[in-house]
């Protein structure tokens, strides 16, 4: 089985936010929730870089470790998913997540959080593949259809890569060798405890 990973090539990202928009559209993500976002570092200064970030589907995921109701699970593809029927919206996964991936719809008064929503690597949830119930809670299950996540599919500069970790790593390494530079695979050290040299 492949080990699915995201890789954002910050030297290619032009901050067009197509990944954010495509994700929201493909998964019918509720208002106020963004599973993916683009953040620009050193904005307006020399050496500015933009990084598209979502759930990195960590090895030994911190969210799963701290969840008080144990609602997370990792698929055979290495995708970290969760069960919204079990989630109580406590917010612990957000404190533990190194990438700020978990999102919560606001319910009720004050800071009450609803059931957590996050990037599923377009792999749905625990319901039967591509069932209406799965779509309503988690969005598309493109992986079950043999497709890759929508965000990476629409990326105009192919900055955002999604797929088998070894393959995306190979593509990125090739680029770095060809062009002679690379600012590294953002988040890989934190998520997978491995670094792709830039």
């Amino acid at each position: 089985m492949a080990r699915m990973k995201f890789l954002c090539d910050a030297d290619r990202c032009i901050e067009c936010n197509a990944c954010v928009t495509a994700c929201k559209n493909e998964n019918e993500v509720p208002w106020g929730i963004n599973r993916r976002r683009v953040v620009t570092l050193n904005d307006g200064e020399p050496g500015e870089r933009s990084v598209s970030m979502a759930c990195m589907h960590c090895t030994d995921a911190p969210c799963a470790a701290v969840c008080p109701v144990d609602c997370f699970y990792t698929t055979d593809d290495g995708v970290v998913l969760h069960n919204k029927d079990l989630c109580i919206g406590c917010g612990y996964c957000f404190y533990a997540c190194p990438f700020g991936a978990p999102q919560y719809p606001r319910v009720g008064d004050f800071g009450s959080r609803g059931k957590m929503d996050k990037c599923t690597f377009c792999a749905g949830g625990p319901e039967p593949d591509n069932s209406p119930a799965e779509y309503e809670k988690y969005g598309a299950n493109r992986l079950a259809q043999g497709k890759l996540p929508m965000c990476a599919e629409v990326c105009s500069t192919k900055a955002l890569l999604a797929g088998d970790g070894d393959v995306v790593e190979g593509i990125y390494k090739n680029r770095v060798t060809t062009r002679g530079y690379g600012s590294g695979a953002w988040g890989w050290q934190t998520a997978y405890s491995e670094d792709v040299p830039g």
């Binding site: 109701v69 109580i88 406590c90 530079y181 690379g182």
Partner: protein, 336 residues
């Protein structure tokens, strides 16, 4: 000869130029090559400099501008591992100490038995506030401990669906019982703060270990040194859990991710110490002392109990004589 010399000069110049040409343009070339990453932000460097990496985003959700905070792994270690050990150690430790006290020292009995005469110790308002706090505290403690220990101990017993339903109720129960708890403690502060100001009498009380050292019970006012210590610890604990709890109840209103993590850890640490303290309080009030329970159950204590544990207070209340006492009805002859 001159011609040869000229030729040599020319050849040398040509060689010199060739060497120069081969070196200088090379040098010029390297300085002109654009290295787009020379000034670029580098992840590992940023992580060494900051707790988290943040930049400019375009969403309304400003906390999404933090793209990486590996400190989450530290929080995971503290909350997911350490807190379990600290919590278990504090709770089991306190229970073990109390069990030891029960089996070695045993419950403290009323000296000379009951007199059969009753004296009012806590009026209706005092008891109501106390039990309001009790109910709120038990709800808060049980639902709070569920977040830390439920997954390990309760989930395997009742299954994921039932545990999730219970935990969702527990989450709201925790949030909503915080208000009566804080209100109750505030009223308790207003009622008892004056009587809990430490005095010289308390020093003797502590020196004699609250009656455990020496054979005579040290005198005390309405509250003895131990109770005063409990009172102020409870006040500090309440302030601690309230402030840290407000941060958790209104996530990201006043702070960033680091602040939220600190608030959660402080909340858990203070709460666990508070629970340990209250377990000891329950032991003394319910098991460890004969005649103590009645003070909060119906408000009246035996006169001999009062004279033993709160001699100064009993003297002041009872010394005025039944007829002159403002708590006339409270001090009454035995029913039988």
């Amino acid at each position: 000869m001159t011609l040869l010399y000229r030729n040599i000069r020319l050849v040398l110049a040509a060689i010199g130029f060739l060497i120069f040409a081969s070196v200088v343009p090379g040098a010029a070339q390297t300085s002109n090559v654009v290295d787009p990453n020379a000034q670029a932000v580098k992840e590992q460097q940023l992580l060494r400099q900051h707790y988290f990496i943040s930049g400019r985003g375009t969403l309304a959700d400003t906390k999404s501008y933090v793209i990486e905070q590996p400190l989450g792994r530290t929080w995971r270690l503290i909350t997911g591992v350490w807190m379990h050990w600290i919590g278990a150690l504090v709770i089991l430790g306190v229970i073990a100490l109390l069990a030891l006290a029960y089996f070695t020292i045993g419950p403290m009995m009323i000296e000379g038995g009951r007199s059969g005469r009753k004296i009012l110790r806590f009026n209706t308002l005092e008891r109501f506030v106390h039990w309001l706090i009790v109910v709120a505290f038990v709800v808060l403690a049980v639902t709070g401990l569920n977040i830390t220990f439920g997954r390990e101990f309760l989930l395997p017993l009742i299954g994921p669906e039932a545990f999730s339903r219970w935990s969702l109720m527990a989450k709201y129960g925790h949030d909503f019982s915080s208000l009566p708890f804080v209100l109750g403690v505030a009223i308790m502060f207003a009622l008892w703060a004056k009587a809990n100001i430490p005095t010289a009498v308390d020093i003797r009380w502590f020196k004699e270990g609250g009656g455990m050292i020496g054979d005579k019970h040290p005198p005390a006012e309405k509250f003895n040194g131990g109770q005063k210590a409990l009172f102020w610890c409870a006040m500090l604990g309440t302030i601690g859990v309230t402030i840290s709890g407000l941060f958790l109840l209104f996530p990201f209103y006043w702070t960033n991710i680091l602040g939220m993590q600190i608030a959660q850890v402080l909340h858990a640490l203070i709460a666990i110490a508070y629970v340990g303290l209250i377990i000891a309080h329950i032991y003394i009030g319910a098991v460890g002392m004969e005649g103590g329970w009645e003070a909060m159950a119906n408000g009246e204590v035996d006169l001999n109990w009062a004279r033993q544990h709160h001699a100064l207070w009993a003297e002041r209340e009872f010394g005025q004589g039944p007829a002159a006492s403002r708590q006339d009805a409270a001090v009454r002859a035995p029913a039988d």
